[in-house]
Amino acid sequence: MLLTITYKGQNSTNLGYLLHKNPSRPQQFEMSFGLAYVFYPKASETETTVALLLDINPIDLARGKLGSKDGGLFDYVNDRPYVSSSFMSTAISKIFGTAMSGKCDKMPDLVEQKIDLESSIMMLPCSGDKKILERIFAPLGYKVEYDTFILDDKFTEWGESKYINLYLKGNIKLSELLNHLYVLLPVFDNQKHYWIGSGEVEKLIHHGEWWLANHPEKNIITARYLRRKKSLINRALKELECEDNLESNNNLEEEKESPQIIRLNDLRMEVVSKAVLESKAKSVIDLGCGEGKLIDKLLKQKQLERITGVDVCIQSLERAKKKIDILPERIKEKITLFQGSLIYKDKRFSDYDVACVIEVIEHMDLARLNAFERILFEFTSPPTVILTTPNAEYNINYEHMEGLRHTDHRFEWTREEFKIWVDKICVSYGYSSSLSDIDTSDEHQNTPTQMVIFTKEGVDNG
């Protein structure tokens, strides 16, 4: 909410000329989110400080601007009015725009001069390791200091807050400082107050071109500035002429799925797809198809005449549908998608040679597994069921892992536990089973995923 810049030097009030803001006249600006004020808490011969203070309207944030019908994007209870976030960048570019571009007719020499500047950024949200501050600002020539704050001094057990007051000191051109702040303030936060479109790439290039290209942390800065939108990041890095980095920027995807897991997922689909074909199936239903990764693998197989995907999440199905919509008609007509739930009995599940249940059961509460078992094995009773679930024993191989592999997993079974369950299914519903592991690359024969193929007894698959 508050940013100050201090110029220490002879005739320090010249800062007013550089900023095009008269030190003796406080000013007020209309912003899309409320008001901004510019004033000078200090103005002496040797030291002058300008303050940019935001007055963000929290009700506008929550409800949308008065008279607009769009509604707001934020909660009523929100830190935005009190922190230095993307709102501050917007204000810098709007209010100090001329100074940012390094124009000053009255003091053309001073503009081009490196001067002693200090900047305080109050309440900068900076999640995670604070070392990042040094890594980002030091290469630009700043001395970095900051204060941290305890979240609530009445409840010290909650630990530190993510906010800091950041103090930068440097011998630098004012326009450089402003451009640095413009680009970097939102980099420490996890949100921007507006939609990230391709226009953001232009802004980044415009304000960062000359200093970002050689910055050692340019990948992180670019990725965070563009909110981890891969296509935009690639474009920006390309324009910054560092194409050689395109590959490595995959690592910037700070998503939960590590490359290791992505590779496993591919392998899993490969193995399942092979098992489907080996069962001599002509029709297959993928229960819990998600965005259709298995369907993708199966649709090219001539052997399969009918492929159906079921998921409870309509958004996933929509994404699956988009991929299918572009396929040739003759393939498209083999595929059906519909919303369904594995704990509601459903006639539409019937009449398939194979049912696949890939990495699904671990997302169900154990208490509701019984309903699923009856629906699949008792009422639907397909000739073949292919089912996979994580192997809990493998988790020791994941570094820094606590608890379960995915926040939505309700349980993860060891191979022993899985086998007990499989045997119970076989006895209760008349199936035989064959267990196998997916990915035996680990030297201890420990595998991340386990698979079972159930075959209904008395059904001839030959």
Partner: protein
């Protein structure tokens, strides 16, 4: 003379009330005229009409196929809805009639042929004189000949009733009489005592009748002084000890109108024998026959008539009750065909046999969704099998089990233990119902997708036919499937609650005056104001022990109860914590004699669970506290920067309109930021009130405010005063349950209102959440209009954690006061009705899917709609 007489006498044609009628006759035989005379215009589907419907020309034979497709499409819908349907087409060819017969079979009704069989000469004459069209006379001849050839085949083709009218005279003097279907006994409203498979167990039957209140008259046999009717579900014969006695007893009761009896598979086999068929005399039939033979020819004849008259099912009590021997699915009820009869006698069999060599009987009742209650026998088991409004009450008396009756409409089970094992069952009784969930005595019910998908309409006793849009049910399906507790536990979801109208007072968004006024103007004289606890909403289902939970809720998780949030999610992620808490709650109720007092072994409580931080700790640490600290530090810095600038002094220069920076009075800005700083302090105080460190379970407090339901009772018919006072009785100390402070306010009395306001001011002055104002009665109406079951009036300081720290600044407050309540209030009423309906259904032992629909509907109404199309 003779001739004239004949002309005047009406020829009566009897057809069933519900059937498919084929009007058969050559072109120009007068079918359409005949149809309009005897049937409703909507009952008659004429091929000519459908030809013109499709191509504006009723004579266009080229589109016949399309016309018939359309005709049969309409026929399907009518027959599905049990409406008599007449096909007005020539139907002189076999293939045309076959289609009619197939249709009748598909919808399990009789096909009736009414043939207008005029002489060819008459037909040719008529054809010639027709203005609208005239066929080539060869067409008429062809029709005539085809019909002539067909007549003798009609019976064989499958028409159950055939009426051939051979002259103009015949046709003109016909009267059609519609007769009731033999299974239609809707006019009998009971009350009934429905008795399962007797199998000659005379002694037990006598005892059961006595137990049910029947006494024996010397002449007519057993009767009930209150006019109850006994219903025998068939299989009165075979296997047991006293065949003749049972037969006589039941025949007497039926004859005197004190009982009705339906056919069972054993009775049917005997019937076949008595009618001379060659049947295998197994499963006790040989003995039965011997005994009947020895009673003499008179009795044998009487028995033959009786057994021969038995029907396979009856529809009783205005369609609300259906009885059959082996059960009946909804689409067969009230219909008659070979397959309906077969189902009623043998159940849902698919020809497979089990390991005991007996036919595999499929559990049709699991999928039953019909409106009518179905009571049946046939499959013996240890206890009655009750699921989805169906009751199988064959408890294997002849195999040493018991003889069971269901009292209707009371739905009470009355049983008499067998005196001995009269016959060894070929498989153990407990193996009869196929269930793989290892439950011997409870029906493990599974929900179906069509119970909740698409556009749903739920009828509630407070608001009829509440509609749930597909957009909402689609979105709720995911939430229900992935996050909600087991549907068997989820018998209730609470409604949303609207705030009171915004206050006219300058500094307040909400103030009690408006809450009282809302109820006063809706005719509610007394309201109950309940303190809003600083916790989270929790619905608590508790049972006396896990055995009760299993029996009453059908759950298999060995839990004794659950605690869930207002969106149906488990309140605690930590299962052990939940279990311990449930145990603690249950012990408390045992200690305070709650179960006996309420005469129940389970209860559903609406409660507030404290502290709020138990549920909301993540929210506090991620949202509330950060706003507090950043606000405090940020504003401190802003105030000091502003102070420095103000101290330094400033000026205001003249600037042009196009300059973006306007002059500003910094001291005013400073003042404004000082106010903000005060607001953030108050905000921090307010959220801190809600946090107390929970180190273990003993720090948790529960404040119930509704005893929603217990065995056989939804407590919506008791006042909120009752709820408050009753709950208070069980809050013996403050260790777990805590009572809720409340006062009663008279909405017409200024003094009382003032007292209410002061009470609220006291509650809220240091960040208290406020109060909920409820009408004195749980369900309140203004005339016929349902009014809000509760409105909340939240404290000024508390609202900072809802609307943000600065909401009290005048520019914000004025804007926040502009809010519409209609949408929320309408939602609240619908959700309230659905909630109570679900509880009502549960207490009435309604099927799981019926209870689930209500909870699902509440969740759907609360869900963000999504586009269901793919």
């Amino acid at each position: 003379m003779d001739n004239k007489n004949e002309a005047n006498s009406k020829k009566i044609i009897e057809i069933p009330e519900f059937c498919l009628v084929a009007l058969i006759g050559a072109s120009s035989s007068g079918k359409t005229t005949f149809a309009s005379k005897h049937f409703l215009p909507t009952e008659v589907l004429s091929s000519d009409y459908f030809r013109s419907l499709i191509c504006d020309d009723e004579n266009n034979l080229e589109i016949s196929k399309d016309a018939f497709d359309t005709l049969y499409f309409v026929a399907n819908q009518r027959l599905k809805n049990m409406k008599l349907t007449v096909i007005d087409a020539t139907s002189v060819q076999k293939y045309a009639r076959e289609q009619i017969i197939d249709k009748a079979k598909e919808y399990d009704c009789h096909a009736v042929a009414i043939v207008l069989n005029l002489p060819e000469k008459e037909l040719q004459e008529r054809n010639k004189n027709r203005n609208d069209r005239g066929f080539d006379n060869r067409v008429i001849t062809k029709h005539f000949l085809e019909l002539k050839r067909s007549l003798k085949n009609l019976k064989r083709e499958g028409f159950r009733y055939i009426y051939v009218l051979n002259s103009v005279n015949d046709i003109e003097n016909v009267e059609i009489v519609r007769t009731k279907l033999w299974n239609d006994k809707k006019h009998l409203t009971g009350p009934f005592d429905i008795i399962g498979d007797v199998h000659e167990c005379f002694d037990e039957l006598k005892e059961l009748l006595k137990q049910l209140g029947y006494t024996k008259k010397r002449t007519d046999g057993y009767f009930h002084k209150n006019g109850r009717t006994a219903v025998f579900l068939g299989d009165i014969m075979d296997r047991g000890p006293k065949n003749i006695e049972v037969l006589k007893l039941i025949m007497d009761m039926v004859e005197s109108g004190n009982a009705i009896c339906i056919n069972g598979n054993h009775d049917e086999k005997l019937n076949k024998y008595l009618r001379g068929s060659n049947v295998t005399q197994s499963h006790g039939l040989a003995d039965t026959i011997k005994e009947i033979e020895s009673e003499g020819e008179d009795f044998k004849l009487k028995a033959k008539d009786f057994i021969g008259s038995l029907r396979s099912h009856f529809v009783l009590d205005s369609g609300k009750l259906v009885v059959s021997h082996a059960g009946i699915i909804e689409k067969y009820q009230g219909r008659g065909s070979a397959r309906v009869r077969h189902f009623c006698l043998y159940g849902d069999v698919n020809g497979e046999r089990d390991e005991y060599g007996l036919p595999v009987r499929l559990d049709w009742a699991m999928d039953y969704r019909g409106k009518a209650t179905v009571v049946y026998g046939h499959t013996p088991q240890i206890e009655p099998y009750i699921i989805n409004n169906t009751y199988c009450i064959d408890t294997g008396c002849v195999f040493g089990g018991k003889l069971t009756a269901l009292r209707y409409p009371e739905r009470e089970i009355v049983s008499i233990e067998a005196k001995k094992v009269y016959s060894e069952p070929s498989k153990p009784l407990d193996a009869c119902i196929k269930s793989s969930s290892n439950n011997d005595d409870i029906a493990d019910d599974v929900l179906r997708i069509d119970d909740v998908s698409g556009r749903m309409i739920v009828d509630t006793f407070l608001i009829p036919n509440i509609t749930i849009a597909e957009e909402n049910s689609t979105s709720a399906l995911e939430v229900m499937s992935r996050f909600a507790v087991d549907p068997k536990w989820l018998i209730y979801l609470p409604p949303t609650m609207s705030p009171c109208e915004t206050s006219t007072q300058e500094d307040y968004l909400e103030y009690p005056t408006e809450a009282f006024e809302y109820y006063r103007k809706n005719g509610v004289k007394k309201v109950v104001c309940e303190k809003k606890h600083m916790g989270s909403r929790a619905v608590i289902i508790l049972t006396k022990d896990s055995e009760t939970a299993k029996k009453r809720f059908g759950v298999l998780d060995n839990k004794q109860g659950v605690i869930y949030t207002r969106t149906g999610r488990c309140f605690f992620e930590d299962e052990l914590l939940e279990e311990t808490l449930i145990k603690k709650l249950s012990n408390q109720l045992i200690k305070t004699n709650f179960w006996q007092d309420l005469n129940t072994d389970w209860v559903c409580l609406d409660a507030e669970l404290m502290p709020w931080s138990v549920k909301a700790q993540a929210l506090i640490e991620k949202q509330y506290a950060p706003v507090g600290i950043s606000g405090k530090e940020g504003l401190t810095k802003a105030v000091s920067a502003l102070s420095l600038a103000v101290e330094r002094g400033y000026e205001q220069a003249e600037v042009s309109n196009i300059t973006s920076g306007k002059n500003v009075d910094l001291s005013k800005v400073l003042e404004n930021y000082k106010q903000k700083a005060v607001a953030i302090e108050k905000y921090t105080d307010a959220y801190r009130e809600y946090c107390w460190q929970v180190t273990n379970i003993n720090d948790i407090r529960i404040a119930p405010f509704h005893i929603l339901a217990s065995e056989k009772a939804v407590h919506h018919n008791k006042s909120h005063l009752w709820h408050m006072e009753t709950i208070k009785k069980y809050c013996v100390d403050d260790s777990l349950f805590i009572a809720t402070d409340y006062i009663v306010v008279d909405t017409n009395n200024i003094k009382s209102i003032e007292k209410g306001i002061n009470w609220w001011l006291e509650l809220t002055k240091s960040g208290g959440e406020g109060m909920v104002v409820k009408p004195f009665e749980f369900v309140a109406k203004n005339g016929t209009k349902l009014i809000q079951p509760a409105v909340k009036c939240r404290g000024k300081e508390y609202l900072r954690i809802i609307y943000g720290p600065e909401y009290t600044l005048p520019q914000h407050l004025n804007r926040l006061k502009q809010r519409g309540l209609n949408k929320k209030r309408s939602l609240a009423l619908r959700e309230f009705s659905l909630g109570l309906e679900g509880l009502k259904r549960f207490t009435e032992n309604a099927p799981l899917y019926k209870v689930h629909q209500c909870a699902f509907a509440v969740l759907a109404l609360e869900s963000e709609p999504v586009d269901p199309r793919l």
